[in-house]
């Protein structure tokens, strides 16, 4: 058991990778065995992630050096700097890992029947598991170039999954937009990595953070990294591709793409707080993030109000909700240098933003899954053509209501707990942030009520006489996420103490991250 936990960072990345390639021979033999392999490997990964989380809450940052004689030997004998690839898992990384493991399990379960009528299902699961690998790698790695490799793995498999249903024209276009945006973003990241390597001859985040000087080249690298990652998360004004790609993917994949957006956001936080934490001009960068975050919140929701396509409508809401997290963590960044303000409201604002990542990662995939359930039987994504579906799809209706109440921040659901944490803390920073947040929240509720009314309420429509409740595995997939929402709703303070505060502290405490890597230097 101890050895399992010691090696768990690499196992969490390697198990989905191995399973991805095993699905091909096993899928040729038996469909059931392949499904069991996919679900079994992802369930084991969930178990490993929770075991690792418990270990981190007791022993602190977990290091894993690839290829070293001992996993915590970060600096090889005879060298002054870390040259090997290091996986560094702290409170924030494992927090993202927990989200990713649960959502990918729910998405895989949901896919079992959602794509059961498609051809080439085995390749679908291969790509899905590769995407899981890429996501975990992005969250756990402590090495900049390794991050680039994993973001590419997640992007390539994600784009292939968006275009998976090749019989539709719009899926091809959505996938193409996604891969173009990803390719440009990752090349910008690679260029920035080159700029940093040219000056410091280092790729490890912890060692770089210690050496960094904030020269002009560093500033250019920071700008390139932040623009690339903001583009990947769909921050306004770089959001135009986002609904096009997210609305056409199979619903289970859309749920997972939301989390890869969060992983890019996590990387942006890691770069601002850990890599540049000691030297960054925090108020300026913080204010830039806050202003674009506000724009993202507002533009996303106003575009969503007019949408008739149920998945496009939810994608614009995803853009809007991502703005809350940028604002929450942006406020924390803006007061990073000031210990007094940081303890008064900065840490709470960051906790609110990070808490909102957790909540959004539960209810947004749930809403996308219900949208996919509607599409599964009605064959249309157009809300004006739906109606009266509550008569036939009772589970989907209930789950949609849970998601709607949660995204609109209705007390006592989990969306409310994180939003109130953001509102209270950012009000002390600047009242306009809270006012915008509340207006966006009201618009969200209004548009989701309208969508609910047009899809579920009213008399049964004659063309949907044959519609029945969606298959069991789709319901199980949705219930996994709804159970997460109910858990956070019932025990918000427990979740904040156990997961959110450690994550926020891990971002603030740059020294611990650096010392874990370079501590061996006398």
């Amino acid at each position: 058991m101890a050895a399992l936990i010691t090696h768990s960072p690499i196992l969490i990345i390697a198990i989905p990778l191995a399973a991805a390639f095993l699905t091909i021979p096993i899928g040729m033999a038996s469909r059931k065995a392949r499904n069991a392999l996919v679900i079994g490997s992802l369930t084991f990964v969930v178990f490993l992630v929770f075991a690792l989380a418990r270990d981190i809450s007791i022993n602190g940052i977990h290091l894993y050096t690839l290829g070293a004689t001992s996993p915590d030997l970060t600096i090889p004998t005879g060298f002054m700097v870390p040259v090997r690839i290091i996986l560094e898992v702290d409170g924030m990384s494992i927090f993202m890992g927990i989200i990713w493991s649960i959502v990918s399990l729910a998405a895989a379960t949901y896919s079992l029947s959602h794509i059961s009528s498609e051809t080439g299902q085995t390749r679908f699961y291969t790509l899905l598991l590769l995407m899981v690998t890429g996501g975990f790698g992005m969250m756990f790695t402590g090495d900049l170039f390794n991050f680039f490799v994993f973001i590419e793995i997640a992007s390539i498999s994600g784009a292939a999954l968006i275009s998976f249903r090749t019989r539709f024209a719009d899926t091809q276009e959505g996938g193409f937009k996604y891969i173009v945006v990803s390719a440009i973003a990752s090349l910008m990241i690679l260029f920035a990595i080159g700029l940093l390597y040219a000056q410091y001859n280092l790729l490890n985040i912890g060692a770089l953070a210690q050496a960094i000087q904030y020269t002009t080249l560093d500033k250019i690298a920071l700008a390139l990294l932040l623009i690339a990652l903001a583009m990947k998360t769909g921050m306004v004004p770089l959001h135009l591709w986002f609904p096009d790609s997210y609305s056409v993917a199979p619903a289970s994949i859309t749920g997972m793409l939301v989390i890869t957006s969060h992983a890019c956001m996590y990387a942006a936080f890691r770069i601002c707080f850990t890599l540049y934490g000691g030297v960054i001009n925090a108020p300026v960068v913080g204010w830039i993030i806050i202003i674009f975050g506000l724009l993202t919140m507002f533009v996303g929701v106003t575009m969503a109000v007019f949408q008739k396509d149920v998945m496009r409508f939810m994608s614009y809401h995803a853009v809007s909700q991502l703005g809350y997290m940028w604002v929450g963590v942006g406020v924390g960044l803006a007061v990073l240098g000031n210990t007094e303000l940081l303890s008064t409201y900065g840490r709470d604002a960051m906790s609110g933003g990070i808490f909102h990542i957790l909540n959004h990662a539960m209810y947004k995939p749930l809403l996308f899954f219900t949208g996919g359930a509607l599409f599964h039987y009605t064959g249309t994504r157009d809300l004006t053509k739906m109606g009266g579906l509550a008569h036939k799809m009772k589970w989907t209706t209930i789950l949609y209501i849970i998601g709607t109440l949660s995204i609109s921040g209705i007390p006592p659901l989990n969306g409310f707990s994180s939003k109130i944490l953001i509102y209270e803390s950012v009000y002390q920073f600047h009242p306009i942030l809270t006012i915008t947040g509340i207006i966006v929240s009201i618009l969200t509720l209004a548009s989701f009520t309208k969508a609910f009314h047009s899809a579920f309420m009213g008399a049964e429509l004659p063309e949907y006489k044959e519609v029945k409740e969606v298959p069991k595995s789709m319901i199980i997939g949705m219930v996994i996420l709804a159970a997460g929402i109910v858990f956070v709703t019932l025990f918000p303070s427990l979740v904040v103490d156990w997961a959110i505060h450690p994550a926020a502290d891990a971002l603030i405490d740059q020294g611990a991250y650096i010392n874990a890597v370079t501590g061996a230097i006398p």
């Binding site: 170039f145 680039f148 490799v149 590419e152 992007s155 390539i156 784009a159 292939a160 275009s163 090749t166 024209a169 719009d170 091809q172 276009e173 959505g174 996938g175 193409f176 891969i179 173009v180 990803s182 390719a183 440009i184 990752s186 090349l187 690679l190 260029f191 990595i193 080159g194 390597y197 040219a198 001859n201 790729l203 609904p243 096009d244 609305s247 056409v248 575009m303 007019f306 949408q307 496009r312």
Partner: protein, 117 residues
């Protein structure tokens, strides 16, 4: 190599990146867009390779290595990885363009844009 200024490769990389960005932003043909991304990748790769050059350094091949300081092989390793990844990205893009062409009969990004709003 003596008569080529040391920063010449960096200028070439910058030129490649500039041309690539121009193509990506202004060209409407999807295949030309892909070519733009390939050029962008080449520019970044050239930048990485140029970083690895040290005047007077010798190649990091241990077999029959001459005396002298050996260059660090990290930038070359990065470039190789990046080339492999970009091959995958470009291949995937081209397959998608083939599918787009089958559905819409056009490679013009303005014409094939069905999704609005």
């Amino acid at each position: 190599m003596e008569h080529i200024p040391l920063n010449f490769p960096f200028l070439a990389a910058a030129l490649l990146v500039g041309i690539a960005l121009y193509i990506i932003i202004f060209k409407k043909n999807l295949v030309k867009l892909i070519m733009g991304i390939a050029l962008l990748a080449s520019g970044v790769n050239l930048f990485l390779v140029a970083l690895g050059y040290r005047a007077g350094g010798i190649a990091p091949i241990y077999t029959d290595a001459p005396e002298g300081p050996m260059v660090m092989s990290v930038p070359q390793a990065l470039t190789l990885t990046s080339i492999v990844i970009n091959v995958a990205v470009l291949a995937l893009m081209l397959t998608m363009v083939i599918h787009i062409y089958r559905h819409t009969g056009s490679l013009d990004s303005e014409k094939s844009r069905k999704m609005k709003g």
